[in-house]
Assembly symmetry: C2
Homo-oligomer: 195 residues x 2
């Protein structure tokens, strides 16, 4: 199955790169992790490691967004959604022994100054996330500009919390950032209903 192998390669590369970064992950290691023939990697990704990484970034970004959106959709209200996101993130990070946090952050920092096409890919993913978050807050009545800033602030808090959680091997940073994010969201929504 062709598409199957291709998917396994992307998935395996995503798993390794999110944990070890771009330069820290080798093509052969990806082949092993994905249980895919080495030759198949260059068959499906003639552009080599860069092309593969670009797809890892985009696919990882998309899946993460879908995951977060599903948490929001399942929540009774926006503030609960925010809380559930941070709690779910904490649970995932703990369950994976502090390995799986943001799918693209490790790559993003590595390539920001060294690989312009990949940097652009990460920038696009972040922009998509911010736009999606802003949509949620705008739908709740928050003015467009404020909604965007609020969405961006939450994503940044989450990213910072992911970083500290992985580094300290603790979910406390995610809990603290979650509380702060919830308070911020409550404040913004209170300002709306007060009008």
């Amino acid at each position: 199955m062709a598409a199957d192998t291709r998917d396994r390669i992307v998935f395996g590369a995503a798993t390794l790169m999110r944990r070890q970064g771009y330069t820290g992950t080798g093509i052969k290691q990806i082949a092993t992790e994905a249980r895919a023939p080495f030759g198949s990697i260059y068959h499906f990704f003639p552009g080599g490691k860069d092309q593969l990484a670009a797809e890892v970034i985009r696919r990882g970004g998309y899946f993460f967004q879908v995951l977060v959106e599903s948490v929001f959709d399942a929540a009774p209200d926006l503030v609960t959604g925010v809380r559930d996101c941070f709690e779910g993130a904490a649970e995932t990070v703990r369950a994976t022994d502090y390995q799986d946090a943001c799918p693209i952050a490790t790559i993003a920092l590595e390539v920001a100054s060294t690989n312009e096409p990949l940097r652009e890919a990460t920038a696009e993913v972040f922009e998509t996330w911010i736009a999606a978050a802003a949509d949620r807050f705008r739908s709740a009545g928050i003015p467009a500009k404020d909604a965007r800033e609020l969405g961006a602030a939450m994503i940044m808090s989450l990213e910072g919390a992911f970083l500290l959680s992985r580094a300290t091997r603790s979910t406390k940073p995610l809990e603290i950032a979650g509380r702060a994010a919830v308070a911020q969201a409550e404040l913004a929504l209170a300002a709306v209903s007060a009008r």
Copy 2:
């Protein structure tokens, strides 16, 4: 001068690793950047790349803390200090063409799941930063637990903003995170003076 060469090596390694990460930076590249003889690296750091990286993490963490503390000390009040920190960070990031942000974040994400001694070094630095920030807020009358959470939240916001700023090549994330941090600090201080 011996110590001079040693310092140049650490400084050069810090410069490269903060921009390209740990695995992305080679020993030979460090020697070139530091204008240091290749042999000297293993003379001063017999433990090799790991020992050098550990010192980069600790020294980078210390210098960054000193820098931030000096900004706070120069500010007329705590809230202004917070604002100046984010504004100063934005200025630095812009001035270095989005290369120099957090001295250890790139390394921290890379080593979190792959190199336990280095992971511990990054964890200690983050812990030191949080403790220093908590001190500032506690001195302003904020209860110890709240002060620590506030300090941690700001560092996480800053880290997230650094990540997005580098990825998007824009200072907007730092500006947004700065506004959010200022608002958070004002709120916490207002709660103190209201008592």
